[in-house]
Amino acid sequence: MNPQAIIRLVGIEKTYQLGDVEVRALRGVNLEVQEGSFVAIMGPSGSGKSTMLNLLGCLDRPTRGEYYLGGEDVSKLDDDAISTVRGKRLGFVFQSYNLIHELTVIENIHVPLFYQGKDLSKTYDHCKKLAELVGLGDRLDHRPKQLSGGQQQRVAIARSLVNDPLMILADEPTGNLDSKTGEEILAIFDQLNLDGKTIVLVTHGGEVAERAHRVIHMKDGLVDRDVINSREPVLNS
């Protein structure tokens, strides 16, 4: 019962109905993640890893159990409320970047704030600062198509930070990138974590998971192993 727990899952179950077959994707997961930690979730396909990510990202609701995000039970909120939670407390980074094509870099970064009713003109400086943070201060008016994959992912990271979220959920953020660019992206995550951001990263690559403080291995809808990595010396030191 750590008061600092950003994520607390209590007996989370998730059951899908696939035709006549009932699939139990999660079978009573209990988990706590402290503020400021860097957690990797690993597991083979079918382990419940993706379901976990969807639940943690408030994109899905558990069949049973409670999910406390920043102390508040979000497992029973209605669609509007859960959307607000996503928009205000979570930051997403996807494998395929998922930027919106017709928007520029700065506009893409601004999207979560747009849905909070905040005008771009009033938050322009904030968005610009984040673009500079990920090294794209000179590309504010570029479209996603004019950017490389690594650059697009940087925009996505900036976008995930714009609402100052409780945690950043990253789903295979380096999956579409070459190893060098992937390194650069992971370095940004390291830096963010050093600055105190909570990061939950879903991956199946071992070397990516090694960057995390803690690796949660999923298997058959349950947490199989929960390993605490010794914190390695930071790369940029």
Binding site: D80, R86, F92, F94, N98, Q116, G117
Partner: protein, 432 residues
């Protein structure tokens, strides 16, 4: 907070326009349905309105309180001498009819008898065929003539059977190319008539030859007005018609009697009374009655039907346009499923997604409506200039068609938008 909302919606509209601009060709093609729909509604209503306005004006000129009775040559029976080389057919309205109508019909205000003869009218060496209209001074007022110069016929002319005449101004121009017509005399047969005035016809309807009438096929406004008493004295009652191989004569006292009632309410009841009155003294049906009020009602009825037909066509074309928009929006929703998932993940509520897509549809339909209104306003002008038809663009047709196009956007946009909003964010994010 109150100030934020409009700014945000402005942004949504801006974004909608932006994403439509990404597919310019598609957006324009989608809008075409609405453009044509709106444009045709406005243009057709304008043309219809113009046509019915002209008809109504013409009928109103006849006077809505008037009942016009015309002499009609009855269908020729066996007794009429088709086998004979010559015969005199007697038919039509009489002076007695006019007198009876005036004295016995309740609610009658004025009765105007008219005789019409087609003759050559000469001045110096110019001879033109025209209608000689023998009538009372009342004619000018009741037929909507306006005086161009001089004076019209007077009661004195009538009582003294004066040989005076009034010409239509355009006829006078042809007959007197070099002289001032006033004071000159024109010759008809052997008699001379002094020109005392010129008139202008204000109604277009009266210029048209009455089909089957004595002036059929004539120049439209070669009219010469003389006192009725003069006409009776100079021309007699029998009119001769010569045609190759045959010769016929007709005896007609009056060609037309215009009965003016005190008000339009009296017209309806007067019609059957006139009918009864006339049948008593006419063996054959040798007259016809024209009731401008009834014509007006018919014209209004026709216009109503016309509007309903137009409305249906317009509604259909707008619905087709709307379906086109819906079709494209459904395709767009599928195409942008991933984007919807992303937006949902980033905090968009269902209603935000609905708004986004609804705005796009409304922008399409209102944009199309706007273009349609512009073209719809231009087309009647072209029609008026090229086809010479009168068109009237009513403000209500603009508002109506524009409003409907916006409404179509909302109606046909709701389904695609709600489909977009109801997408499962997880599924949407996974969509390729």
């Amino acid at each position: 907070m109150n100030l934020k909302i409009p700014a945000r919606h402005l942004r949504t509209i801006q974004l909608g326009v932006k994403s439509l601009m990404l597919h310019k060709m598609r957006s324009v093609l989608t809008m075409l349905g609405i453009i044509f729909g709106v444009c045709s509604v406005i243009a057709m209503l304008a043309i219809g309105e113009g046509a019915s306005y002209e008809a109504q004006q013409a009928i109103k000129k006849l006077g809505s309180a008037n009942i016009i009775i015309r002499s009609v040559k009855p269908p020729e029976g066996n007794k009429s001498g088709t086998s004979m080389r010559s015969s005199v057919i007697e038919y039509g309205l009489t002076y007695a009819d006019a007198g009876r109508l005036k004295t016995t019909l309740p609610g009658v205000r004025r009765v105007l008898p008219i005789r019409i003869m087609v003759e050559n009218i000469r001045f110096n060496r110019i001879a033109l065929q025209g209608q000689i209209i023998g009538t009372h001074p009342l004619y000018m007022e009741m037929s909507g003539l306006s005086l161009a110069s001089g004076r019209f016929l007077t009661d004195t002319d009538e009582t003294h059977q004066k040989n005076v005449c009034v010409l239509t101004a355009s006829f006078a121009d042809r007959l007197f190319p070099y002289q001032e017509p006033l004071g000159e005399s024109v010759r008809v047969e052997a008699d001379y008539y002094r020109v005392v005035g010129l008139v202008r016809e204000t109604s277009t309807m009266q210029k048209r030859p009455q089909s089957g009438g004595p002036n059929e096929g004539q120049a439209l406004d070669n009219n010469l007005y003389i006192p009725l008493s003069t006409a009776r004295a100079r021309f007699g009652e029998t009119l001769f018609k010569r045609s190759p191989g045959s010769f016929s004569a007709e005896k007609v006292e009056l060609h037309q009697i215009t009965v003016q009632m005190t008000d339009t309410d009296a017209v309806e009841s007067a019609v059957p009374q006139i009918e009864t009155l006339l049948t008593r003294f006419h063996d054959k049906k040798d007259y016809e009655m024209i009731v401008p009020l009834q014509l007006l009602r018919q014209a209004e009825q026709t216009k109503r039907i016309f509007n309903i037909v137009l409305g249906s066509i317009a509604a259909i074309s707008l619905i087709v346009g709307g379906i086109g928009i819906m079709n494209i929006m459904l395709a767009t929703v599928t195409e942008r499923t991933r984007e919807i998932g992303v937006r949902r993940a980033l905090g968009a509520k269902k209603k935000d997604i609905i708004t986004q897509f609804l705005v796009e549809t409304v922008v399409l339909s209102v944009g199309g409506g706007l273009i349609g209104v512009i073209i719809g306003v231009i087309v009647p002008f072209i029609v008026e200039a090229t086809a010479g038809m009168k068109t009237i663009i009513t403000f209500s047709s603009l508002v109506l068609s524009f409003g409907i196009s916006g409404l179509i956007g909302v109606i046909f946009g709701l389904y695609p938008a709600s489909r977009a909003a109801d997408l499962d964010p997880i599924e949407a994010l996974r969509h390729e």
